[in-house]
Every structure is written in C-alpha cells, then in structure tokens.
C-alpha cells in the first residue's frame, strides 16, 4: 500500500468521513455510498494531492460529491421531507417534535459538519480541515449547539 493509500485508508479518516457523511445524509447506506465514492474520486485524483495532511483534501471531495448529487437530483437527500424550521413555525415544531434528528436537520450543512468533526477532533484539527480560524470555529460551534438546544425546547424546561 502506498503512502497515499495509507493516509487515505486510515481509520481516523474513515471515521471522520463516515461522521461527516452521516451528518449530511442521515442514512447509513447513503453515507457509505458517499464515502465509497469519495475514496474512488480520491484514488482517481491522487496525483493532484500535494502536502502531508490528506484530511482537508478528502473532506473537500466528499462535500463536493454530496453537493453534486444534491444538485443533480434537485432535492436534498437530507431534509427535503422535513421543512426547514423558521422563526414563525419554530415554537409549534418544538412543541410537536422534540426530535433529535429533526433538530439536527434544522442546522445548516456547515453547522452539522462542525458537530460531526467535533466528535473526533479538537478545535485546531477542525480548523485545519475546514480552513477556518479557531476563533470563527468557536463562534460557529457555539451557535450550532445553541440552535440545537432551542430546537429541542430545552430552554423552556
């Protein structure tokens, strides 16, 4: 196995990819398909990879593949069956559906990515993977969690 493949098929990257894919698809089968495609695309384009840290490069491929599939289908694999929460219907939704998955779906794709990456990575690693400053990451992560908390209705408990 080449050095490239060793990095690509590391367990840590696999877990990171599966978490990210799940945060986008909310479906084990679709997440596995997305990860499989990402591996294939990465292998096809391995000559384009330069550097020591393969994670940000692979994450970008995964995100682009997901965006492409959404664009092609013209309906999101995630969330289309669940209308986005708005400020007008939020209170109703919270009362009726204190559901974890729905509240996760109410987060933006970017916010779900942060939550997914936080499961296995520290702030610096996430910042490196996504190319954002840790200060920005702190703000966005805090905002994502607060949004989730509000959706779950815990503030009123």
């Amino acid at each position: 196995m080449s050095n490239f493949e060793s990095m690509l098929f590391s367990d840590s990257l696999k877990i990171k990819m599966m978490n990210l894919a799940m945060s986008k698809t909310f479906n084990q089968h679709d997440a596995e398909d997305l990860v499989q495609q990402t591996y294939l695309k990465a292998l096809e384009r391995q000559d384009q990879f330069k550097g020591d840290n393969i994670d940000p490069w692979v994450i970008t491929i995964l995100k682009n593949l997901f965006i492409d599939s959404k664009r092609k289908k013209r309906e999101a694999l995630l969330g289309d069956d669940t209308p986005e929460l708005t400020s007008n219907d939020e209170s109703h939704e919270i009362l009726v559906e204190r559901d974890k998955n729905k509240c996760l779906k109410s987060l933006s794709a970017n916010e779900r990515e942060l939550i997914a990456l936080k499961q296995t990575n520290n702030y610096q690693e996430i910042s490196d993977d996504l190319g954002i400053k840790t200060g920005t990451l702190r703000q966005q992560l805090a905002r994502a969690r607060e949004k989730f908390i509000k959706c779950m209705g815990w503030e009123n408990d």
Binding site: F9, H29, Q37, L40, K72, Y123, A142, I149
Partner: protein, 187 residues
C-alpha cells in the same frame, strides 16, 4: 450572560479553553444560574450528538472493495464500445420497448448529442437518467457502438442494474441520487 460568555462556556466544555478562560467560566457558572443552566444544556446536547454518531456502523471495509471497484471502472471506460465519441456532435436515436414490473410500456424515441470521449460516463448517465425518467426499461439504440441498454429497477433502493449491448457479461449498477456508476465486464 453575553454571547462571548456562551462561546467561552462551549470552549470550556470542549476542554479547549485557556487557563484564564477556565477560571473565568468557573466563576461565571458559580455566580450565574443562567450560565450554569446553559452549561448543562450544552452537556445534554453533546450527549445527543454522541448518541447519533455512535450509532454509525463503521464495520464496512472500503479498502477491500476499492481495488476491484476502481479497476472495473477503469477497464470499462477503456472498452472499444466507447470509442465512437471521437466523432463529436453526432446524433443517434433510441427506440424503446419494454415490459417490466414497475416500468410502463412505451414506445419513445430520443435523440442524444454524442459527447467527447472524456464525457463517456456522463453520456451513459444521461441515457440512464432519461430511461429512468421516462420509465423505460429497454432502450434499443441506433448506433454503431451501442445496440441496447436494459435496466432493472430495484424497489429496495434508488439504484438500477443495467445490461449493455445485450451482453449478459457486461452489467452495471447506477444510483441516480449519487451519480454512482459501476460496470463489470466478465470475460
């Protein structure tokens, strides 16, 4: 409690706060009930996030699959049946007829613009997409390269199996949602 306090409490919970920030947050949650409540809600949220991601099955072995998968894709698109694409902008028609469990019977004709060789995959996907959209299971193609494509819908997923050129040794799988396409040539 300010927005910055909330950010610091998040960092505190994630073990990402500096020693000064830790001291600040510890004082804050001791004196401010709202801050303590916020911290507890964050803990609760993290528990839910952990549960969600812990449920993911990580046993699938992508490494074993990748070799045969990559090779089959590569081999397929090097086959002579796709060499026609060197003559760009040639139209060819597809006559169709089929009987299938879910797909309706139809006689339709389509015209596709042949694309250049690097877009063979896109072209095949385009034809498959059109067949799925029109609910056509068998497409007879008026072309020197293609003779027909037969697709077999799968109720249990959004993917279809297909057979190229009436050759049972040339079969594939296509998932329109994800653009996944995989063709195997069994010699």
């Amino acid at each position: 409690m300010t927005e910055n306090d909330k950010i610091l409490i998040n960092a505190f919970l994630d073990n990402e706060a500096s020693s000064e920030e830790i001291k600040y947050v510890e004082d804050l949650i001791e004196k401010n009930e709202e801050a303590l409540k916020y911290l507890n809600m964050l803990k609760k949220a993290n528990i839910e996030f952990n549960k969600f991601f812990e449920d993911i099955d990580l046993t699938k072995n992508f490494i074993e699959e990748k070799s045969s998968f990559a090779e089959s894709i590569l081999n397929f698109f090097q086959k002579p049946i796709f060499a026609y694409a060197t003559t760009a902008a040639v139209f060819f028609g597809i006559g169709t007829q089929f009987i299938d469990n879910d797909f309706k019977e139809s006689n339709l004709e389509f015209k596709y613009l042949e694309l250049r060789s690097e877009n063979n995959k896109a072209q095949l996907i385009m034809i498959l997409d059109e067949m799925i959209k029109k609910e056509i299971s068998t497409a007879k193609i008026d072309s020197q390269s293609y003779s027909q494509i037969i697709i077999f819908p799968n109720d249990s997923s959004n993917c279809v199996l297909f057979e190229l050129n009436g050759n049972r040794n040339s079969i594939g799988k296509y998932c329109s949602e994800t653009d996944y396409i995989h063709v195997s040539d069994i010699d």
